[in-house]
């Protein structure tokens, strides 16, 4: 995959740029929660724009950000000049999200039919194995559901793409955490030194 350091550099660049854009335009002082929101949002959007809409989670992040009206202005500001293009691209893929819903419902239907068919065919395994298998399957399914909720935009994907998205998302999260931690420590140091 991409080298982690280049990832972090890219992320940092975009993040700082977005933050600067945001802070320069707003005159009033924000309270801590607002600041936190801004920081987080800008970080998310920075990374998401870095992916340029290639991964599903990045698109979902941008889509979520632009959905609420109050966030939208912020998001647009953060994203800067390229926001229009990006949001347009994301909205076209959001159209696919609704298609994904249809696909998903079709898949659910198909799956239920298949499972019925398979049950009718009958299994050749003894009861214990069948039980164990079904339990295992149910566990995995439950966990996949949870994972789908965690990864942004993951609800409409099949398992394989979900795993890929998770991979990408995890690398992004790691980069984000590291960069943030570094900056936090640096600012803390600076403040301590200044005092």
């Amino acid at each position: 995959m991409r080298s982690p350091s280049s990832l972090k550099q890219e992320f940092l660049k975009r993040w700082m740029r977005g933050l600067q854009r945001c802070t320069s335009s707003s005159k009033k002082d924000m309270n801590i929660l607002e600041r936190k929101k801004v920081i987080k949002l800008s970080a998310d959007l920075a990374m998401a724009s870095a992916r340029n809409g290639k991964t599903s989670w990045s698109r979902a992040l941008i889509a979520n950000a632009s959905r609420d009206n109050d966030n939208r202005i912020l998001a647009e500001r953060i994203l800067g000049p390229e926001s229009d293009i990006l949001i347009k691209r994301v909205s076209t893929s959001v159209g696919t999200v609704s298609c994904n819903r249809k696909i998903r419902s079709k898949k659910i239907l198909k799956r239920s039919c298949n499972s019925v068919r398979r049950v009718r065919k009958g299994t050749h395994l003894p009861h214990q194995k069948v039980l164990a298998k079904s339990i295992a399957k149910r566990l995995v399914q439950k966990r996949t559901q949870i994972l789908k909720r965690l990864v942004p935009g993951g609800e409409f994907m099949d398992e394989l793409s979900l795993i890929e998205e998770t991979l990408d998302y995890i690398t992004y999260l790691q980069a984000q955490v590291d960069v943030m931690r570094c900056i936090a420590s640096a600012t803390e140091l600076k403040n301590r030194n200044n005092d």
Binding site: K8, L12, D29, K40, L150, I163, T171, L173, D178, K190
Partner: protein, 435 residues
């Protein structure tokens, strides 16, 4: 089983004589089939068996007293209903020809000396359309031509089938049905391996494509990943010995392999996942890790917001005054620095520092390691380097960075690091806040 067939065909071929027309037809068809078949048509071995079984069934009709071996009997009893689209085409031909040829028909489709080849080539081509022999438009063209020559409605249907788009449901259903039926026969015979071997031996030219896998029900996304063929619509799988050759199970197996491959990547990414083997456990770890990362991000952004009342992150400022040397084994960052011109360099320098610093941090993420890190005295060169963090002309900066890097690289990563005193306190404070 195949050898028995071959022997039989030879025997039956002996006395008889095929009519010219059929021979000519068949030879032409055979040439085309062979061309198409060597033209890269990938044959699922699954289908060669049943087609032979069908032909053997025809033998059996003719052979007096049914003196076939017990194997033949088995084949007959398990013989499947022919695929409506395709097999009937061949079968009809067989049935048409057989009465004319009498015993001499032997391999129903066989021309006399080339009977065996014909047999196998037919079996190959019959397997071709259901596997949706790919791209090869030549294959399509050539196979469809003999089909039309046979001038059976079924033949036409089969050619239509071949030309049909993979996304059309009817085709998929027909394929699935055919595969299901054939796979039943195959599974019961346990012949999958033999057919694959036979296919393999004859399929030398198309071995590069044998690594592809076949699915009929996969998502377009997976198909587009398929790769080596011109039109990556289908991936072709070989059924392994002793495994079901059901199209569903094939697709399932492909899917499962892909998933397990991805899970392996995840294992590398998520720390502490090496010992866990089950999917559920792995997913559990992944979920925990993602949740913890997300929580960390929340916390860190809160911390940043608290630390920075005005949200002014001035990176140059930050790192000019701070003693965060760019020590890490991140050579790429250094590589980048040397490429850049001065102004760009100065701009990116802090970025690299952060990245480098983060690279270091990544190596020592857990607080345990931080605690264990020995606090050695600052050696002289590092102090000097820290002084150099003020804006310096690039060449010396470069040299310093190189020095630091070399030193860092030669040392073990977990041991003494320049900004020990600071990071000790930083980590401690982090610990306090995280706990």
């Amino acid at each position: 089983m195949n050898r028995a067939l071959q022997e039989m065909s030879y025997c039956l071929n002996g006395p008889g004589n095929c009519t010219d027309m059929t021979v000519l037809e068949r030879q032409r068809a055979r040439v085309r089939w062979q061309q198409s078949y060597f033209g890269g048509c990938d044959f699922g071995g699954v289908f060669s068996e049943p087609s032979q079984a069908d032909q053997v069934g025809n033998f059996q009709d003719l052979v007096v007293g049914g003196d076939g071996s017990s194997v033949l009997d088995d084949v007959l009893t398990h013989s499947v209903k022919p695929d409506p689209g395709l097999e009937s085409g061949w079968l009809e031909l067989g049935r048409l020809e057989l009465p004319k040829m009498g015993f001499g028909s032997g391999g129903s489709m066989n021309g006399s000396p080339t009977g065996l080849e014909m047999n196998s080539s037919i079996s190959k081509t019959s397997s071709c359309p259901p596997t949706e022999a790919q791209s090869a438009p030549e294959a399509k063209g050539k196979v469809s031509v003999p089909a039309e020559k046979m001038s059976s409605a079924a033949g036409r249907d089969s050619s239509k089938k071949r030309k049909a788009d993979k996304m059309q449901n009817t085709k998929v259903f027909a394929e699935d049905d055919a595969k299901d039926k054939r796979s039943k026969a195959c599974a019961e015979e346990g012949e999958s391996k033999i057919t694959t071997e036979q296919a393999r031996t004859k399929n030398n030219t198309s071995t590069p494509t044998t690594n592809n896998r076949e699915t009929s029900a996969d998502s377009p996304k997976e198909n587009s990943k398929a790769s080596e063929v011109q039109k990556p619509d289908y991936i072709h799988v070989r059924a392994r010995r002793g495994q079901a050759t059901d199209s569903h199970s094939l697709a399932e197996r492909v899917r499962r392999e892909k998933i397990s491959e991805r899970m392996k990547y995840l294992q590398d990414l998520v720390p502490g996942c090496n010992k866990i083997t089950g999917k559920a456990g792995m997913l559990d770890e992944i979920i925990n890790y993602v949740q913890s990362l997300q929580r960390q991000v929340e916390f860190l952004s809160m911390k940043l917001a608290a630390v920075n009342p005005r949200l002014d992150f001035n990176i140059d400022d930050l790192f000019a005054k701070e003693t965060i040397p760019a020590c890490s084994a991140d050579f790429p960052t250094i590589g980048m620095s040397s490429e850049m011109t001065n102004p760009a360099y100065l701009q990116f320098n802090p970025v690299q520092q952060v990245a480098a610093c983060c690279g270091f941090e990544m190596g020592l993420n857990s607080p345990d390691m931080a605690l264990r890190r020995p606090l050695s005295a600052l050696p002289e060169p590092y102090l000097d380097a820290s002084c150099f963090t003020q804006l310096q002309p690039p060449p010396t900066w470069d040299a310093d960075l190189q020095n630091l890097l070399n030193l860092e690289f030669h040392q073990e990563k977990s041991i003494s690091f320049p900004y020990q005193p600071f990071t000790g306190s930083i980590e401690a404070s982090n610990l306090k806040m995280e706990i």
